[in-house]
Symmetry: D2
Subunit: 297 residues, 4 copies
């Protein structure tokens, strides 16, 4: 169970009436399971966790747990208050997740001092039945990750690692230099996955792994094999897709790209808007290009 | 029922064990009711709505509704998804709120285009049993309010107004110029309440009204009476308190200032941190100075 | 000589070949002199000072000084280094300016601590033969004005006031509260001129005064006469023009609006681009609307 | 002559009286010339170009040209206006620079559209007697580099490459993917030099090369030799020094670190402040650690 490899942050399929489509999630898991992922994440930012209620979240965990048998299952459990995060992490652990990904609280951002964040993560880790991974994604939270915080938290016996999604490779390098080798510093930004590995990232939680699984896994494998030329080529092949999703299409883009790849993407929940027909066509081309690069030479 | 006057965005008191302190809320309402407020708001940003679960939120509404008899009660009902916002707005309406304040969704901020926000507010207003007020607070959401959006939404029969908390007086002036006189454009930033009234704000939803109610109401009354000299003096007296809360102490500061003013402020929910002893002393002085300015000459 | 009234930050006309058009400046001064301005500023941001060399700057000062006889002439003299600012301020003073407007250095913005800025302004004021006004314009410099800096510098015998152009009325209110009445805190953002006056601004350095001089001066006069209704109306009339210039058209927009008003606007220096024909038409309408509001009732 | 290797952006030494110390520059060049740099840059951001007048700039170029004999000499020649940039680039070329580094104009940042920047760079390149390199450094300019601009400009016969200093490795990867192999995309941020090379950067213009020349050159050599383990180690050794300079100490920190390394750093021009004694000690330790990593195993 680890972030030492690629982990797809699974999207949450919805039925045409807007209800949760658990069967869609199960089929996606089935399809994605043929790739050499090191684990699966539900309830991340790509999973529209912010738009799900607690019952839906627990149903997703239960379904994923059942499908994955013994393979590692991570779930995003972070909420705005420490109290609610602890409570939900416990419920998620009861449903069988292997580890919890805890997002930085951020609504009261001016109050999220280093000390406030440190206490929050410590309190959650103290109470969590399962290992905890820190999670920073400034593009969504508006909150930069404070220098030194991962290093201060790494000694906690229940804090296993971090997902750092800013795309700031230097930050990841600094974190890697300041934590023990057992701390898993995962890159959460597919635009810089290869350079992040170069500076010591343990693996990646990559939204493009939902729609370009072969290329994502191949990049990791090439790096592990010391094949920098191929890793660089695969990164270049993934970059346009990752950039399109990261800067223009968002979660709706991941889902449209999954549709293009023959998986269950489908609709997003409002206020997110669907991708236009032109956008879907562009994403289809980007998926094809990324996956083509992963084909055996 | 209106934002034509001052509305305090009520804080949410907690018991020492961290549970909701409904009696504390009721005592605050009792005390604040002696001031000439035009209504009361629960579940705003000052109310730590982001840290409350749904049962707690509904309990607060129920208690406030009971205490206020016929006086106007507003509640923040905005959540990240349109679906959840509609559902909760209906539940809040069933508990008797007079109007709902709907925060801009913001987690997927890059996807919150003008169209996404417009559709969100329209869908909520279409479904809401009670009038809806738009709510923008970039300091918390990281999302600037798009030019023209209030103007586009103002014709909706169930959209009654807006709370604009950025402190950008020019933005408020532009909104006022583009909406009918019946649209209530309230200022949500006490640092600029008097200048906001000068450019046409209908009233204010002011966190300082929790701890400096007399000065807040007096400022509004002075402006309505055409006494600009007194309004300016009261604004100057409120500015240091409002600045201290807005830029340094946050919600914990509002609560500490209420403690200083003899109301139930009390603890905040983590990850928010309590105000230090020095900070509490500073806030006490600022409250005293603000309230002194409101004393009859 | 003062910022107690409206001061136009004059644009710098260029000839078709790109050279300085001193005669154009003189004609603008002639035309604008019929309005009740409290002074004139050359070499501000609206004057494209960043695109002028020293000889051109001194030629502009000389021409303006000659035209204005005894009327107050201000000049922007701030450069990135303290040394260069001191040297140029002295040269400008020799050409007869009445006071110098000193922009915050900003290229090394992370190094522009409160202390760095304080020492810079003190050193310039110590060496300047003429009174000094502080100048902050975050839209151009990317540097917010630090709380307390104006208050710390106000006692300096040669620091006479400040031009604060952020549009943050609360900041202006705080500055006014912390400096002696002799310190002139001018608003440099026409979108909030009326509310800025309400919280104590001494006057305004307003780019719209170049193209809508009558409305700008009338707003100030209405406020001074206690006619808040008319001041608010004039502010509302200037707001669309000021917003269009401030957020979309920039300096090229001021110049196009001057052309529309019958003054010498003309070309901007590259890399600034000229306003399109549609933009010019829009600016013409906005100028007409603003000036119409100033017509006697 | 190229950015295919490491280029130090030379600092500008000053004498105790604040005047230019040309002899100091010459000694630094003498000392640094023993390292395998691919060229030298004067008048970059590290060279306090913003605080130098034209005579000083030309004197620096002349001195550097004389000292370097045939080795490549680059100079920063970008100014706010196209006209001034062209004029100064020509003067610099007359003094013998091999190529000009042209900074994005940025004061009127809202007006710096893709088209405005493209036209600026094209006009400068059209007029320049020497090859031109584009230069983006958002930490100083506040201006992000627009997607597609380097790609659009790369075909120009006199545009030879770019210095991209944001630290955004994904951006560099995108640029590399969109330009011909002859276009030299140099990394201007030492915090990510190794990962930047991994995604295709041609070389680096690194401020730490002034104070840790051996480690900077060794990192490049290790990468070229395919020794990723050593490159990663050297990057990790340079990261704390580069971070300290980049985020806390600025140009004054580079100079203090040079003093620690036995070169002529010396004073900065105000408003930059000198590094404190504690800061100098910290920088000495960071320089020692970085250089130790470069020692032969």
């Amino acid at each position: 169970m680890s972030f030492r490899g690629v982990v797809p942050p699974l999207v949450t399929p919805f039925r045409p009436d807007g209800a949760l489509d658990v069967a869609g999630l199960e089929e996606n898991l089935e399809r994605l399971s043929s790739h050499a992922f090191s684990g699966f994440l539900v309830l991340g930012s790509s999973g529209e966790a912010q738009s799900l209620d607690e019952d839906e979240k627990l149903a997703l965990i239960t379904a994923a747990r059942r499908r994955l048998d013994g393979r590692p299952l991570f779930a995003g459990t972070g909420l705005e208050s420490t109290r609610a995060t602890v409570a939900f992490t416990k419920k998620a652990a009861e449903r069988g997740i292997d580890a919890a990904l805890v997002l930085t609280p951020h609504y009261y951002r001016a109050s999220m001092t280093d000390e406030a964040l440190r206490r929050h993560f410590e309190a959650v880790a103290d109470a969590s039945p399962v290992p905890v991974y820190l999670y920073s994604v400034p593009a969504f939270t508006g909150l930069p990750w404070p220098p030194g915080l991962a290093e201060a938290l790494a000694p906690h016996p229940r804090i296993a690692g971090m997902k750092e999604s800013s795309g700031d490779v230097a930050l990841l390098g600094r974190i890697v230099a300041g934590v023990p080798a057992s701390f898993e510093a995962a890159c959460g930004n597919a635009r810089v996955y290869y350079p992040a590995l170069c500076v010591g990232a343990s693996g990646g939680v990559l939204s493009v792994a939902n729609c370009a699984p072969a290329a994502s896994v191949a990049l990791h494998a090439a790096f592990m094999a010391g094949d920098h030329a191929r890793a660089r080529l695969l990164q270049a092949a993934l970059l346009p897709l990752a950039t399109a999703i990261g800067t223009r299409f968002g979660v709706a883009g991941i889902k449209a790209a999954m549709d293009a790849a023959g998986l269950h993407g489908g609709a997003v929940r409002a206020p997110l808007l669907p991708v236009s027909a032109e956008g879907r066509e562009e994403l289809r081309r980007l998926v094809d290009a990324a996956q083509a690069a992963a084909a055996p030479a």
